[in-house]
Amino acid sequence: MDTDRLIQTLAADNEPRPRPVGVMLAMALPVAVAIALALLLGTIGLRPDIRTAMRNPFFDLKFVVTLALALPAIALSLHLSRPEASLRGWAWWLALPLVVLVLGIFGEMMMPERLPMLTRLIGHNAMLCLSAIPLLSLPILAAALLALRHGAPSRPAVAGALAGLLSAGLAATLYAAHCVDDSPLFVATWYTLATALVTAIGALAGAKLLRY
């Protein structure tokens, strides 16, 4: 086929206009988060003492940490869906949840009455955390990758890893409402491990699915 013909054909295909990636993501993520929430409520549910827990600043801090991961990751994955974009100047946003965590850990050290460090770190159900966050993140990761397929990232694996980060962040936000371990030490250990796992899955899937 000669190039002039191809150009003619492409110009004929100018309607309906494709939706921007941001719109796709804005449509896909709420649906996926709702599915993950239904999954959480239908299986392990919220923690029974959630009303009293909400008065504990360390319980609330978990949501700050997970959202500090999810929101920058959403913004970054949108940014990277443009072919000419790079992480330069943006990557430091990803350090935000770590900063919050470190502050939280120091804050907890100031508390007068506290359990021994290792007890706080190991917590009550680390294994549940390690499995629930990746499982809850799967529908979100799938939706994020589907939406990001409308983009054109120059490094698909990096874009996929960011999709993993954002879905782990959102899934962890949901799981935090069930999790009875509020110590920032617990969050820093097990939430981070779960997030790393989802990020790796995202990178592998992205390398395949997000090429254009």
Binding site: T3, D4, I7, L10, D13, P18, R82, Y212
Partner: protein
């Protein structure tokens, strides 16, 4: 591009035509630098145009157009060279006796897209052939194939998208 994204097909056509010589020159230069015969340039140009078309929503209205275009072009050129690199490597394995330095004969005819056209589902192929090969309009194609114009548009878009997917997989 602004007008094109707003649905102005004439402006869009003009834009694609205007960037093609630039892309062609770039593709030739890239092939030459990689020590590849320049007759592959047209396939790469078409591959880039297809990607520009399918990803035109990723151009940000406030951002300059050229860096966006060249990022896609570079990406596609790298893809193409990598693919050809792999193929040449296979050729060297197969013809170990052939003197190195002699460029391996390229068996693929110019016009990868035309080759992939054959493998598309019937409806998409008919629509693409009508519009691309016979230069029919969407309205004429719809009348000829007794489809609605909307269905023609959908088939056309799907056909282009699956062409791009096939080029990528190769």
């Amino acid at each position: 591009m602004l007008a094109a994204n707003a649905g102005d097909s004439v402006a869009y056509h003009r834009l694609l035509k205007a960037v093609t010589p630039v892309l062609r020159a770039g593709a030739r230069r890239g092939l030459a630098r990689a020590g590849q015969p320049p007759d592959q340039a047209e396939d790469i140009v078409q591959d880039i145009l297809l990607a520009v078309h399918l990803k035109r929503q990723t151009w940000n209205v406030e951002a300059p157009f050229a860096p966006w275009l060249f990022a896609i072009a570079r990406n596609k050129l790298i893809d193409a060279l990598r693919r050809r690199g792999r193929r040449v490597f296979v050729n060297i394995d197969d013809f170990a006796d052939v003197l190195p330095g002699e460029p391996a004969a390229e068996t693929l005819p110019a016009g990868e897209i035309a080759g992939h056209l054959e493998a598309l589902p019937a409806r998409q192929r008919e629509v693409l052939q009508s519009i691309a090969v016979n230069s029919a309009s969407i309205k004429e194609t719809a009348a000829k194939l007794t489809m609605s114009e909307g269905a023609v548009r959908v088939a056309l878009h799907r056909g282009l998208a699956s062409l791009a997917a096939r080029l990528r997989k190769e």
